[in-house]
């Protein structure tokens, strides 16, 4: 897409080359008509985007737009005012849609305020929270519409064994036990309404469709974010220039925050200067060995902690008296309360061990502050995912034999874990941030105001979302809890931020860390939850007394039953044929994998080629610069000679270049 020259002194720049006013105008007019013809050939949406992105003043852009519109309209055969009416109403409709979409975004003013006071990196935490909220809201809506409402309306209500006591909110059992909150509250009969509604298929397909959509959305966001933030990073980056010119946050409007950012920038520049001076002396061998051994020790301690915590949770979970005693007597309050022990222990671990990790990391030293953040993130993720892994294996291997309605049991466990995660988050906000602030400002001045630790908070969000995804199969209305939780946490964190915290000091590379978080949400979190649900659906025997899949071998057998039922009538036979011969045959998957591998290889080769091209083009820029310097130099010499040699006469005093063919004769003789 050709661009008009950037600078307003366009004409003056050309004038320096010695062209006349007419020629300059001709040149500008040529460029304008080329631009107009380029614009006319684009699609409507691309054209509007291109017009908006033209780097000219508003009036020139308006003129350009009018010219493009008139050219465009002259090419169609519809009469003039009709054309204008149609195009104008179409444009207004499109603009109306855009503004309606912006109305639907909640919290717009709050986010603007947060960004203005704390900068973009802290804002990214809140945007992440909003994004997770959208996932959960969507899940809630489809689960409620497709599964819960038919169950409530048509199927018989399974009455609860006990009345409502306050403890249910924490433990999830008791009054909630047989309601539609859990898997056990649904039964899989075919509702005999006008179009026959098969509850089994509805349950299966709703959950499957939601998980597939989540996966697609995550992959799309991840790849877009990766492309924007990682791909262009070739060559040496970081250092004074980009920090100075590209990283100043213009969106911060609060005076104190700006002062804070200025201090940060000064500190970072001083650090990078001193690093540069110190680069000269390499670290001695003993120093390097010391650093390496400290790193290894820290890793061993962290992994040991993670393994220890997982083992502890495993033993706690399989303790016979604690976990299963309440099952035999639903009215026993103490037994019910004892089920709370496991979630409390898990939440305590999630609160305390990351603090230990950050203490451990203080004793190590890293060459790169970014490496430090990544290592902390990896350790925390290992801890959280190992805890979840142990819990999942316990739920899938041991629980089905012990408990009668085991899916509801799992749903209740997930419910308890989520509730306690929320409660401990509240504790963390109050005791962690508020008290630390009070201590830091009054008692121990050296601690200072606590920093808002983005990595830890985002990892907490990812952990909670993993739980929510695991729990969707076992408790379809679990997203209600998650939605309420996210709402409350948003406002509490915002208040806590304003009162207690200050923005993080090293906020560079926020965009890359964003990509890492989205990737983490996809890879251990979503993939783990998906594999657990898939394993349950594919190979575990559903419980016999409750739930929509009673009596089947595995929940996946509903699909087999359904395809068998549609095998008969000829008009649906093709569905059965596709299912039986394509989706169930292994050859199909081998072929698909092979094709995908080949395509990946081709794309990788194209990427390599493009990297080469970028390198060559960069070299070309350098060469162009040298050429330009050389030509400018030569032209200046020529002009100097021309001025010294040619005598001015009135008719020569215009701006047209006056090439004197006898210039060689006019050189001073002693040259």
């Amino acid at each position: 897409m050709r661009r008009m020259s950037v600078f307003p002194q366009h004409g003056r720049a050309l004038g320096n080359l010695g062209l006349s006013a007419n020629e300059i105008q001709q040149e500008v007019e040529n460029k304008t008509s080329e631009l107009v013809s380029d614009l006319v050939n684009l699609s409507a949406r691309a054209r509007f985007q291109a017009i908006r992105s033209l780097p000219m003043a508003f009036d020139e852009r308006k003129r350009m737009r009018n010219r493009v519109n008139s050219v465009k309209h002259s090419k169609t055969i519809i009469p003039a005012n009709c054309r204008q009416q149609v195009s104008r109403s179409f444009r207004r409709f499109r603009a109306g849609l855009a503004s309606a979409h912006r109305y639907l975004t909640i919290w717009h003013d709050t986010l603007k305020d947060i960004g203005g006071r704390f900068g973009t990196s802290v804002l990214s935490y809140f945007l992440f929270l909003k994004w997770l909220l959208k996932f959960n809201l969507f899940s809630l809506i489809i689960n409620f519409c497709f599964i819960t409402i038919p169950q409530i309306v048509h199927a018989p209500n399974i009455s609860s064994v006990t009345g409502f006591r306050g403890l249910e909110l924490l433990t999830g059992v008791g009054h909630f036990n047989q309601t539609v909150l859990y898997y056990g509250g649904y039964n899989g009969e075919v509702i005999a309404s006008k179009p026959v509604y098969n509850m089994q298929l509805a349950y299966f397909f709703t959950i499957a469709a939601y998980l597939v959509l989540c996966g697609v959305s995550l992959i799309y966001s991840m790849s877009r974010s990766f492309q924007k933030n990682f791909v262009l990073e070739t060559g040496p980056v970081s250092g004074g220039a980009w920090r100075l010119l590209c990283s100043w946050d213009f969106s911060v409007v609060n005076e104190k925050a700006i002062q804070y950012n200025k201090n940060n920038l000064a500190v970072q520049l001083k650090e990078s200067l001193s690093e540069r001076l110190q680069e000269k002396d390499k670290m001695s061998l003993s120093d390097r060995i010391k650093h390496l051994s400290l790193n290894i020790l820290a890793w061993l301690i962290s992994l040991g902690l993670a393994v220890g915590c997982s083992a502890g949770i495993y033993f706690l979970g399989t303790d016979q008296e604690l976990a299963f005693s309440f099952n035999h007597n639903p009215n026993d309050l103490t037994a019910e309360a004892s089920t709370l022990l496991l979630p409390v222990v898990v939440s305590l671990i999630n609160l305390i061990v990351p603090l230990l990790y950050s203490l451990i990391s203080k004793m190590e030293s890293y060459s790169n502050p970014r490496a430090k953040i990544y290592i902390i993130i990896v350790r925390n993720i290992v801890l959280k995912m190992s805890i979840l892994g142990i819990l999942c294996s316990y739920w899938l291997n041991i629980v089905p034999e012990k408990v009668s309605c085991w899916e509801s049991f799992v749903g209740q466990s997930v419910y308890r874990l989520l509730i306690f995660d929320f409660i401990f988050c509240l504790f963390g906000i109050f005791y962690g941030e508020f008290l630390l602030n009070v201590i830091g400002t009054t008692c121990i001045q050296s601690l200072g105001v606590p920093e808002f630790d983005i990595a830890r908070n985002v990892l907490d969000l990812i952990y909670a979302q993993t739980l929510a995804w695991i729990g969707i199969y076992f408790s379809p209305l679990l997203p209600v809890i998650q939605v309420l939780k996210l709402f409350i946490i948003f406002y509490l964190k915002k208040i806590s931020l304003s009162m207690n915290c200050q923005p993080p000091k090293h906020s560079g590379r926020a965009a890359q860390i964003q990509t890492v978080f989205i990737a983490l949400l996809f890879f251990p979190s979503f993939v783990g939850a998906l594999s657990m649900v898939s394993f349950t659906v594919w190979s575990l025997k559903p419980s016999d007394e409750c739930g929509p899949f009673q009596g089947l071998d595995t929940p996946f057998h509903t699909i087999f039953n359904w395809t068998a039922s549609i095998q008969g009538p000829p008009e649906t036979n093709w569905v059965w044929w596709i299912f039986e011969n394509v989706l169930r045959s292994e050859l199909f998957y081998y072929l698909i994998s092979l094709i995908i591998l080949v395509i990946t290889y081709f794309l990788w080769q194209i990427t390599q080629g493009r990297k080469q091209l970028i390198k060559i083009l960069r070299q070309q820029i350098v060469n162009e610069g040298k050429d330009k310097a050389f030509l400018l130099n030569k032209m200046q010499n020529l002009q100097k000679q021309r001025r010294e040699s040619v005598s001015y006469s009135p008719q020569d005093y215009d701006q047209t270049p006056h090439f004197n063919p006898n210039w060689m004769n006019t050189l001073p003789l002693d040259m």
Binding site: R52, K62, G239, I258
Partner: protein, 187 residues
């Protein structure tokens, strides 16, 4: 949709929508903000395109710009006369480029203009020193300022003329993915 506003004609609003990244409502809101900067200077009726410019001193008092270290340069870069007196079209232009929907290339062009203090189409060492002083005040000693600017030019200068041309600057911007989100003023 019935629009009872008499500030702009429909054609004007269409032109604003087509040529900037704002919607009708946002344009009207921007007009409100522009008007409250100088209520006796800015007419409420813009249907006949009055030629009114609000001076620099009033614009840099907006809450969005008041604390920004580059407020003067920002307003000067978007003004036609280079002195910082903005007409309404320039005002809308400024916030349109600084909004989150403007593409990276457009923002890079104006960021270059802002950092180019002496308006010679190059960011030379003096420009960088002025930028650094605005961003850090008295924190760095003059030797450190000198070192930082030299290092910055060394890193970013591709064509070897000891100053940053627009191509050098744009090259550096493409390697800074945060730029799109940090070069952004919300209104």
């Amino acid at each position: 949709m019935g629009n009872k506003q008499t500030i702009f004609t429909d054609e004007q609003l269409d032109a604003y929508q087509d040529c900037t990244f704002f919607t009708r409502k946002e344009i009207l809101r921007l007009h409100g903000r522009y008007h409250e900067l100088a209520p006796h200077l800015v007419p409420m009726d813009y249907t006949n395109d009055p030629d009114v410019k609000v001076p620099l001193a009033l614009i840099v008092n907006m809450p969005e710009l008041k604390e920004n270290p580059f407020r003067n340069r920002i307003v000067e870069s978007f003004s036609e006369d280079g002195q910082g007196n903005l007409s309404f079209n320039d005002f809308v232009d400024m916030f349109s480029v600084l909004s989150e929907m403007a593409p990276r290339e457009l923002k890079a062009i104006y960021a270059f203009k802002i950092y180019d203090f002496n308006v010679d189409n190059y960011i030379c060492k003096e420009d960088l020193e002025k930028t650094l002083n605005k961003l850090t005040k008295e924190e760095l000693t003059p030797e450190e300022v000198n070192l930082v600017c030299e290092k910055a030019i060394e890193e970013a200068d591709l064509d070897g003329d000891n100053k940053l041309s627009f191509a050098d600057f744009e090259n550096m911007i493409t390697r800074a993915p945060d730029f799109l989100s940090t070069f952004h003023i919300r209104i």
